[in-house]
Every structure is written in C-alpha cells, then in structure tokens.
Symmetry: C2
Subunit: 308 residues, 2 copies
C-alpha cells in the first residue's frame, strides 16, 4: 500500500556450528527468509531444521561455497581458527567479497589476527560476540557487540538483523568487540561467584533464602546475574542453562589477557578459583549456580534440594 514498505534483503547465509546457539540462530535466519546452509562436526546436528529449509553440508568449505555471509558460532578461538584456516577450512572456499561473522567469545588479539589474515584475501571479517541464550537465539533476540570495517558491518547487517534485537557498532577495529565482551564476562563471572558466596552465607546465617532474594533484588547489592541465577539455588535446580565450564573458559581468557597486559585482576582471579573448584569437583557440565554448592560443602551448610 505504500512505496516505503521495507523489504528484507535476503541473503545466502552459512552457519558453522549447529549446537544449541547455532541452531537457534539458523532458525532465526530461516524465519527471516534467508537461504541457510549449515555445518557441524556432529553429523546429526540440527536435523530438525532440515524440514524448515536448512540445507546441510559435510564440510565447512561446501557449506560456504555460495554464501554471502558466514556465521561462525563455535566454542572458542581455536575452533574458529580451525574452521577458517585448518584442513578443509572455509577461507579459501569463500567467495571474494563475502563476510565472516565471528561470534565465539575470544581473546581480542586472536580476533585481530584472524581478521587480518582473512581480509588479506579480499574477504571481510566482523568481530561479533553475542550475549543471550539459546531461546533468545531462536527468537532472533540476541545482543551483538560488533567491530570491523564499514564494509563488513554493512554486508553482515541482513544476518545480524535477523538474529539480534540489539546490535552495537563498536568501531572499525576487529578485536574491540571481543574486548567489550571480555569486560562483560569478567563482571558476569564475578557476579555469579559473589551471588553464590552471598546466598550461601545468608543460609549459614539462618536467613530465609526467598526473603534474601526479595530484599537483595530491590537493593544496592543487586546484579543481573544475582537476579537470574539465584532462583536456581532457591529451587535446588542445577540443570545447566549455562554451565560452570563456560566461566572456567571465559574467566580463563580474562586472566590470560590481563596477565599479558600486566593488569592485575584479583577479584576476577578469586572468582575463577571458585568455578575451578566446582569444575574440579565434577560439576563442570552443571549449571553455573553450582558454585553455591561448593560454598555449602566448604561450610557444611544445607542448601535447598530439588523437589521431585
């Protein structure tokens, strides 16, 4: 009815990594009308999306052969590097002018190096770590922190607009977005550990945990993580929404970055030790609120257990 109708720009998008995040992002891309090809090392990954239009490829190179945009959503920098430049990697198979959207959380230095290497061959690299879980991924409601050239930003935009509801353009330098993400992870990890320390301390003092939650979430001691994670402790439900080992990894990257920059991070360092205690005790794959169970063990405090 109007000449101003916005028509989505449809693209051929490849998604490398079809775990819970990657398959959610593929869903959002399909819902937006993009043509989506996917690859994962696990052959059966995201098979439920094939009926919805996902094409699957058996190597990263085949997945990206016709892609305008490649979204890499694997675990870390090493896997991203391998997908791009390893044997059967996609860097050479990628059409000149295509853009890679790199979403794994990583050391900014690694993002800079991969961007430089990829762009030397007339492809574009957007440093684009994200936040938000699998549910928000499938709804196209992720938050992206992005940095890279104006060309990379512009070429990646049709995919980012489908996958995210909030997209920060943080400048022209690949690595900067990774840096913002690591600053966020430093805080997020410390806040989870502090929430677990405080909540178990409240239990040790004999305080009611539900009241503690109600008071703290209205007070100056509140954090996004306290509000989000402490219901798991109150319910005694450690089904992983985000696992202990994610913060073993991410606070580990923070430590590595800080050490090479000769920057002391004593608070983040003490938080990392708590995640390591949880992981070392066998809880690495469980919910990150499991850090509270470590405090409970170390002080003989009883926390709530799950109602069955």
């Amino acid at each position: 009815m109007s000449d101003n109708t916005t028509v989505a720009e449809l693209r051929r998008v490849a998604v490398i990594g079809l775990g819970s995040m990657g398959s959610g992002m593929a869903t959002a891309l399909l819902n937006a009308g993009h043509a989506v090809t996917g690859f994962d090392v696990a052959a059966g990954a995201a098979d439920h999306l094939v009926g919805k239009g996902l094409k699957k490829a058996d190597t990263p190179a085949r997945a990206v052969a016709e892609a305008d945009i490649v979204v890499i959503v694997v675990v870390n920098a090493a896997q991203t590097e391998s997908v791009l430049f390893g044997p059967g990697g996609l860097a050479d198979a990628l059409a000149p002018g295509a853009v890679v959207v790199s979403s794994a959380t990583m050391n900014p230095e690694m993002a800079r190096i991969m961007a430089q290497r990829l762009e030397a061959g007339d492809r574009h690299y957007l440093d684009a770590p994200m936040s938000g879980g699998a549910a928000r991924a499938a709804d196209g409601e992720l938050t992206f922190m992005t940095s890279g050239s104006a060309v990379a930003q512009s070429k990646a935009h049709p995919a980012l607009a489908a996958m995210g509801s909030k997209i920060y353009d943080l400048g022209e330098k690949p690595g900067d977005a990774a840096g913002f993400k690591m600053v966020n992870q430093l805080l997020a990890g410390v806040h989870i550990a502090a929430a677990c320390e405080a909540m178990t301390f409240a239990a040790r003092l004999g305080l009611d945990l539900r009241k503690t939650y109600d008071v703290i979430t209205e007070a100056a001691g509140n954090s996004w993580m306290f509000e989000d994670r402490m219901p798991h402790v109150i319910d005694g439900d450690y089904t992983p929404r985000s696992s202990v080992d994610i913060f073993v990894k991410d606070l580990g990257i923070v430590q590595d970055m800080a050490r090479s920059a000769k920057f002391p991070v004593p608070v983040a360092a003490s938080a990392l030790q708590m995640f390591l205690m949880a992981s070392g005790s066998g809880m690495g794959g469980e919910d990150d609120a499991s850090v509270a169970r470590i405090y409970a063990q170390l002080s003989q405090v009883e926390l709530p257990t799950r109602k069955t």
Copy 2:
C-alpha cells in the same frame, strides 16, 4: 471530605546522630509532622533544622527523656552501644515502653546482644539497618530492613513510615535484619571493586569508557553498583557520595562474621583488599569509585580526569 481520611499518627521522636543521614532523617520526620529532638556529639550539627522545628539536646539522655521512638543513626555497633549503655547513655533515661530503632550497619550478634539488654528493662528494640543516601533520607525515601518483636515493629512504624518508602519486616529476631544488610553489603562491596577492575581493564584495552558503560548496563554483566558508580570514573569525579572507608568497615564486618562462622568468602576478601589499597593510599575519605584509581596506578593506565 471523607471519614476514611488517614491521619498520620504523630509521635515524639528522638534522633541520635545528626550527620548527613541523621539530619536527612530528622528532616523527613519533621516534614511528616512528628515532634523531633536531636543529639549529636558535634554541637553545631543540623543547626539549620532548628528553624524548621528541631529541638536540640546536649546529651542522649536529655534527647530521649520524652520520646516515644528513638532513632539511632551513628557509624557502627560500638557507637550504638555507647549511646545506649555508655556514661550518659539513654537506656536508663528512656521511658518504659519506648522503642529504639537501631539503624547503624553492624554484626548481627551485636544487634542481638543490645536488643536483649534493652528489652530486659521493658524498652523495645528494632533492628533496622537502612539503605539509600542522604538525599533519599531527606525525602523520606529510604529502604529499611527490620526485625524485632511485633510490639517493636508496631511502635516504630510511625517513624519508619516517615523516613522510608520501603520497609521490609524480616521477622521477630533482632540480628536477622542486620544479617540481611551484611549480605547486601558483601555484594555491594564486591560489585564496586569488580566494576572498578572491569572499567580500568577496559581502559587498558583501549576501549571507549562511555561505550563500555552503555554496553555493560544493557548486558548480563550489569549490577546496580556498576550503573551507579561508573559515571564517577567516566567523569573523573571522586567527590565522595559514599566513601572508600565505608566499605573498608562493612566488608571488614563481613570478614569478621564469616571468620567466626568458619565460612570462606574469597571473593569478598579480595574486594576488601582493594578498598584497603585505596584507603591505605590516602583515599579513605574519597568516593568509593576511587578503587578504579588504584587499578590505574597499578597498571599505568590513564583514567579520565575531572573537567575544571
């Protein structure tokens, strides 16, 4: 116009401690129509309120001689103990049936002991730590965490309603409200130190601090303290709104409580060390965001300085 008009119950209230918080609270009490008598060790404290109806007394005992409700808002447990039971203290001068509202942040054990001692003499004790700064005190917008007998709660209510906009009744046991407050202070202190660590780390990575603030306050790394304190760092303005030494004191109480309970608090312990570095460097009286200046010194990072 209506028979249902609520008439405020007016009382004779004594305020012991007329610093920035105490004089704000006296203002709110006067505005609500209560008769207010005040005492402070500094003779000239809150003289600006005399024209608004504040009566001043020269000892705590004289201040409370005719009081229904006594609000004690001094620095710590030791001062509260001295005001109540020291030479010239008010415990004996207080009319039987009157209630003491004890608002200093303190070890729950101290609150329990003082409540027991006071109530043995037919006076009532309400454990009532608060949060919110001097501006909110004057507006009657503080948050109170309270615990004590039903009689103490009910007798204190007309004063609490004038001073606070949110009043949590946390049960019958004096000491429990102090416990909730300490759990909150553990988190608040850790979050300030973590915010300063993360923000200075962002500066070290060459990231724009205003963008860091914008991204983090919309992300999972956010905390009430990050949002509240980091503008001080961005503006380079360390005028004390709440000073470093408050958290040296409060995290110190947390450590003492945790140690006697054999409860490990490694994250709070590392945060306390940062406040001690700031205080030991001569910044004890400056804004608590000064912890960022310690991180900056220890890594040769330049943070913004105040525009003059």
